[in-house]
């Protein structure tokens, strides 16, 4: 073995369970159920400036091919930052029913 040698990643040979995780959506479940208000995008007002996409803490504002945006309601927690950050009032927070 020389220094600069990479370690060999070898599978453990006994029952092995380690606190190892990998990135995946929903690590806290379907967080869309946390919402009390949901953001609704008015595509007519949306100019595609992407500020909502930039500010969204959850990565639940999705860029559309037409340059505008949509919301991933499965996980959106309804914080409302997208609505606050929109300079064109194109996002409205609507109470969940």
């Amino acid at each position: 073995m020389t220094a600069e040698a990479y370690p060999v990643l070898e599978e453990p040979k006994t029952f092995f369970l380690a606190p190892l995780s990998k990135p995946a959506p929903g690590s806290a479940g379907k967080t869309g159920t946390w919402r009390t208000h949901k953001p609704v995008v008015n595509l007519e007002k949306c100019t595609g400036c992407l500020l909502c996409w930039l500010y969204c803490p959850e990565n639940t504002v999705i860029k559309l091919e037409n340059g505008k945006v949509a919301i991933d309601y499965e996980y959106c927690k309804g914080c409302g930052i997208c609505a606050t950050s929109c300079p064109f009032d194109a996002i409205e927070m609507v109470p969940e029913v």
Binding site: M1, V8, E11, K13, T14, F16, L17, A18, P19, K22
Partner: protein, 404 residues
């Protein structure tokens, strides 16, 4: 191969160099300091290709080598006493993460008052953490055990970090001739570092976020499984090491004059050397006594001990540490192991805080136990062997004698 006269600490440093460790980090503490001084020198002189991180504390030292090992480097640190206690939290973290890692622990008493002399309290304090924990008796064994530690820790059946214990000053600062094996031979014997995962952009693994309680339980269970498997690995590695380098030590335990023995001493660490002298002397007097030196306190060598002690009439255990309010930790494990044998047992607390225990003192204690046991079954969980100048001047702590 070259023979040099080395302190135990330098023996550690040479082994670390031979193992081609890539990242070293440590914080000075007596009596460990000369290990990292030597490693610094080797690295700065270009004799060893590694990075040295000169951290601001032991907590950081173990965290740094843990970080390095998680990223894929063979890594090493060393400490003692309060340094080890200060690391304690990271000790557990490293074991739970299942990252192979080696640390030398130069056993030293814990204050207050300040005391740099040897006892085993510091290393026994880490007993439950999930590290493989071993103790050497002599400087040569220190080097050999440190090399073996990388093999054991990085074995895919194990994947647990390992501590190599050596006694402060008794080994760390005492010179003795040590065979230093050739680099080529070590390279042929010690494979490239193996580990179960790395934290790196290549793998996208993360380590340590919250897990459900049931899964966390199973992670602990998996550590226990690895500890069980480690018993075989340790014996194998030591045997194989003997075939390649010409020295082996018995693996988990060393039996000394066990043939024909009826009574046994159980002990760990370098003071076993003095206890062996007492055994020699008693043997000369015709007393059928042998000695088992526990080389690995974790994993606990239950099966090997039961096998070695199955014919014993009585066992006396010397602890250089104590669980305050209970018994010596070595005794506790010996007693739970030998419970099915129903034989006489005594635990002796001695040599704490650097108090020297001479062969004559061992002999007296061993002979006394044998005399008691010959009169009838005896079970004394902890008897404090007071330093000579205090002996007889203080009332003994009422000792629990359970006759069966």
């Amino acid at each position: 191969m070259v023979v040099k006269t080395l302190t135990g600490n330098y023996a550690v440093a040479y082994a670390v160099k031979l193992a081609r460790v890539q990242v070293v980090s440590a914080y000075p503490i007596t009596p460990q300091t000369t290990i990292v001084e030597k490693l610094s020198e080797m690295i700065e002189k270009g004799e060893m290709n590694a990075r040295m991180i000169r951290v601001e504390s032991e907590h950081s030292a173990l965290a740094a080598v843990f970080g390095a090992a998680s990223a894929g480097a063979r890594a090493f640190t060393a400490t003692a006493s309060h340094g080890l206690l200060y690391m304690h939290e990271v000790v557990w973290w490293a074991a739970g993460a299942r990252v192979p890692l080696v640390m030398a622990v130069v056993a030293r008493a814990i204050g207050p008052p300040w005391n740099i002399h040897v006892d085993h309290q510091d290393i026994f304090d880490q007993r439950d953490s999930g590290w493989i924990i071993a103790f050497a008796q002599e400087n040569q064994e220190v080097l050999d055990l440190t090399l073996q530690a990388f093999r054991i820790s990085e074995d895919p059946r194990v994947y647990l970090p390992m501590m190599v214990g050596l006694e402060g000053f008794i080994l760390s600062h005492t010179m003795a001739p040590v065979d230093i094996p050739d680099q080529e031979l070590v390279d042929s014997w010690l494979p490239p570092r193996r580990q179960p995962y790395v934290i790196s952009p290549d793998t996208m693994y993360s380590m340590g976020n919250i897990a459900p309680d049931e899964d966390h339980y199973m992670m602990r269970y998996s550590m226990a499984a690895a500890m069980e498997a480690a018993k075989q690995v340790i014996d194998e590695v030591d045997k194989e090491y003997g075939e390649v380098f010409g020295r082996s030590y018995g693996g988990l335990i060393e039996c000394y004059k066990c043939d024909g023995a009826e009574y046994y001493v159980v002990i760990t660490g370098s003071w076993a050397g003095d206890a062996k002298k007492a055994v020699d002397s008693l043997r000369e007097k015709g007393v059928p006594v042998g000695l088992v030196r526990v080389r690995f306190i974790r994993p606990w060598p239950r099966e090997r001990l039961l096998e070695a002690l199955s014919g014993a009439k009585g066992v006396i255990v010397f602890d250089r540490a104590v669980s305050m309010g209970s018994v010596g930790p070595l005794f506790a494990d010996v007693a739970q192991t030998l419970y099915p044998l129903g034989i006489s047992m005594k635990g002796v607390i001695a040599g704490l805080t650097g108090v020297d225990v001479k062969p004559g003192v061992f002999e007296e204690a061993i002979a006394g136990f044998i005399k008691e046991a010959e009169e009838g079954p005896v079970f004394v969980p902890s008897e404090w062997l007071l330093p000579r100048k205090y002996r007889g001047k203080y009332p003994s702590i009422p000792r629990e004698v359970i006759a069966r």
